[in-house]
Symmetry: C2
Subunit: 438 residues, 2 copies
């Protein structure tokens, strides 16, 4: 039987999962591929730890160059993470004519244009299904299944840490800090959770999906990002009363040749399937002109689910090698000469629906003052709720708006904040609705 | 730019959708494929009807042989349906070295083994993503994304007509007949709805998915099938009280080398995501040893969603042709020499949970008699509800069971039916649960 030799860089959690599948499901994979996928070399600083797998002798090395320079190795799986050494090793491996599989979303989103350009020159494949949504086949669906569709929009719950924390607050009345501690204790959040809770991880992922969807150069730096650290149980409770849940949503929309890509806490109605995606799970909806809307759901992280996608990509490349069809599909879904720089609409220029919460002094005319300012900026309301006198003589006013422009919202909030009747910074949460009247 | 020539057999609803995508999204597809997909010939009995698309002149013919015998045509898209002429034309097209794309679930499920054998001999591709779940990329996910996984089970809502009818009864208290009429009026059900409401269509689909999942020869005839015609609003209401919805579920499980494949009305708990799939939508969950569970959701039928999958398949084959890699992936997911006959467990031998509803006379000792018989056959209960005296002196007894063997259920029901206290045929509905105690 033919052999495809594989080198693995980094044998931590997901790397070990990849090894586990390649070794323990070896026969199964061969029966589907018609060739053996052989894990020939693994580079990791820790070559001794018991990973619970029966490795071939001599497979481990501490020197990644022994892997990427091995002339018998066809495919390099990069499981190191980050944009430093991983980037250097991938570029060198490409230079050595190796095909690449990675789950590294930061690297693809931030350095992808250079990596793909190098891969294009060398004629090698770079696969990265596991970089978005863990085990969910979203990149394959965009590049292949939906190839006949003009993609109109993508919405996703793409960060398991944030979804776990928001689910805890929503379903168990936990505070943000307690929910974060629990996420860390259960392995759903890193010791330094910044990349996750500040929305950066989700922004990496939606930047990647947007590029595949619209044929645009990867552009992470212009994606608007807002994390979940300011979300309070109070806002989650008010959202519920209006029929919404708050999720960290990654949003990407194409309209008339421009794109609106952003990540922020978002109120979505109960009847949106994404509102039922709980805990550390991920889901993504893709809207195309033929397909309508599809939803893909599964574990967005974790050892084995992520490894499942890495192995799927590895087999894809192996099948290309076996059939002599490397580069069968353009890496970023569109032929290189069709990929354009498409500018992302600045956040101030977007229009969407909003939720406001104001804490005001209990005085006559409060509502008139606030709504007067909103009216001045053309912001009209769909709902107003006033809750009185609970909090030391303060009143809470909650409002939902029709579609309004972000820059108008900012100006209005600035004027409202300056009123002497306002007791604390107004809360503003964007809302995704399919209200036909808007 | 290179050209791939396509011939279309049948230009009805979905065929027209395919033509619409290939013609109206031509430039978009070219920018992704790097070649033009040209719809060269279309065979249909009606060559005159305005289909709302600007076709090239002379593209229509009434003679399908002009399409399958055209030496310039690379790919034949079969949109005729059924197992008669479609089968003959596909076999002849394969004999002419044409690659095939079809959405014909009945044909693949019932005649697939012969079609694939012919395709294997000729070295051509046969693609059929649109045969299961319309636009949902379930076949691609099984054959490619999940290739590293041992597939453990598949559950799906795979028939939009049944799901529409059951949703109408559940959400609006409609009767079966009224819901069916509405489905027909809205185009969600055929004039003769037998294939759908008797579960045969869903059985075709789960037979196809099972073959791809486990490497088994296609075997539709041994799939147990039970339709939804006997489902009453009363049972839907009782199910709701216990926390379940009734769905026509296509179930496929692999355990220790044997497979359990069946289609029947099934009670599933509210926290199962499939219970929230309403109307004519489809969804499928796939459970694999690495991936855990993924769910794929979308329109399971209809002109454009189905056409989206057909075009996805067509592009897949075009990419194979362009890169010289036809037959890059085994048609049924496993290499031909690895596909086995795997027997399907006869329905009498399966074990699952059950719901019973008995209508009995209002006499002392009724419950004791029924539960005595159940106990004799080793059937133990998790829940019993008795509703008294509403229906002309009758009592309704509803029960849920622990796991029990189907043959024991049948014997028990036969004895219980014979009791003089039983007023009508007992209702038995199978239940899928993840109760850890079972």
């Amino acid at each position: 039987m033919k052999k495809i030799n594989i080198g693995l860089l980094g044998c931590g959690t997901v790397g070990t999962g990849v090894a586990k599948i390649l070794i323990e499901n070896k026969e199964l994979i061969s029966s589907r591929v018609g060739a053996d996928l052989v894990l020939k070399k693994i580079a990791d600083i820790d070559t001794e730890r018991d990973r619970g797998i029966k490795f071939d002798k001599g497979v481990f090395t501490t020197d990644p160059f022994k892997v990427i320079e091995d002339p018998d190795i066809d495919i390099i799986i990069e499981m190191i993470g980050g944009c430093g050494i991983a980037n250097d090793l991938i570029l060198k491996a490409i230079d050595n004519n190796k095909h690449i599989v990675t789950a590294n979303k930061a690297l693809i989103a931030e350095k992808g244009n250079k990596i793909f350009s190098a891969a294009n020159k060398k004629g090698v494949d770079v696969a990265f299904e596991a970089s978005v949504g863990g085990c969910i086949p979203v990149i394959k669906s965009l590049r292949e299944s939906l190839v006949g569709n003009r993609i109109k929009s993508i919405s996703g719950i793409l960060n398991g840490t944030c979804n776990y924390i928001l689910s805890k607050i929503t379903n168990e009345g936990s505070t943000f800090n307690k929910a974060l501690e629990k996420a860390q204790a259960n392995g759903f959040a890193e010791a330094d959770p910044t990349l996750d809770i500040e929305g950066i991880d989700a922004a990496h992922k939606i930047a990647i999906l947007s590029s595949l969807a619209y044929g645009m150069e990867l552009n992470f730096k212009d994606v608007y990002v807002e994390g979940i650290t300011k979300i309070t149980p109070a806002d989650i409770e008010y959202a519920k009363q209006f029929g919404y849940k708050i999720k960290l949503l990654a949003i990407s929309k194409e309209e008339n040749g421009s794109v609106d890509i952003r990540v922020h806490p978002t109120m979505i109605p109960f009847n949106n399937l994404l509102s039922n995606v709980n805990g550390s799970l991920n889901a993504v909806t893709i809207c195309g002109d033929a397909v309508g809307e599809i939803l893909l759901y599964g574990h967005g992280a974790g050892m084995m689910p992520t490894a499942s996608s890495v192995v799927g990509d590895t087999v894809d490349i192996a099948r290309n090698i076996l059939s002599g069809s490397s580069r069968r599909i353009p890496l970023l879904s569109y032929c290189t000469d069709k990929i354009k720089k498409i500018p992302i609409i600045p956040i101030d220029e977007i229009s969407t629906n909003y939720y406001f919460r104001f804490l005001t002094k209990d005085r006559a005319g409060v509502l008139a003052k606030i709504s007067g300012i909103l009216g001045k900026f053309g912001i009209s309301l769909t709902s107003v709720t006033q809750k009185g006198r609970k909090s030391r003589g303060s009143i809470t006013i909650v409002m939902l708006t029709h579609k309004a422009k972000e820059s108008d919202i900012k100006k209005a909030m600035s004027e409202i904040s300056a009123l002497d009747i306002i007791s604390s910074e107004p809360v503003v949460i964007r809302l995704e609705d399919k209200n036909p009247e808007d």
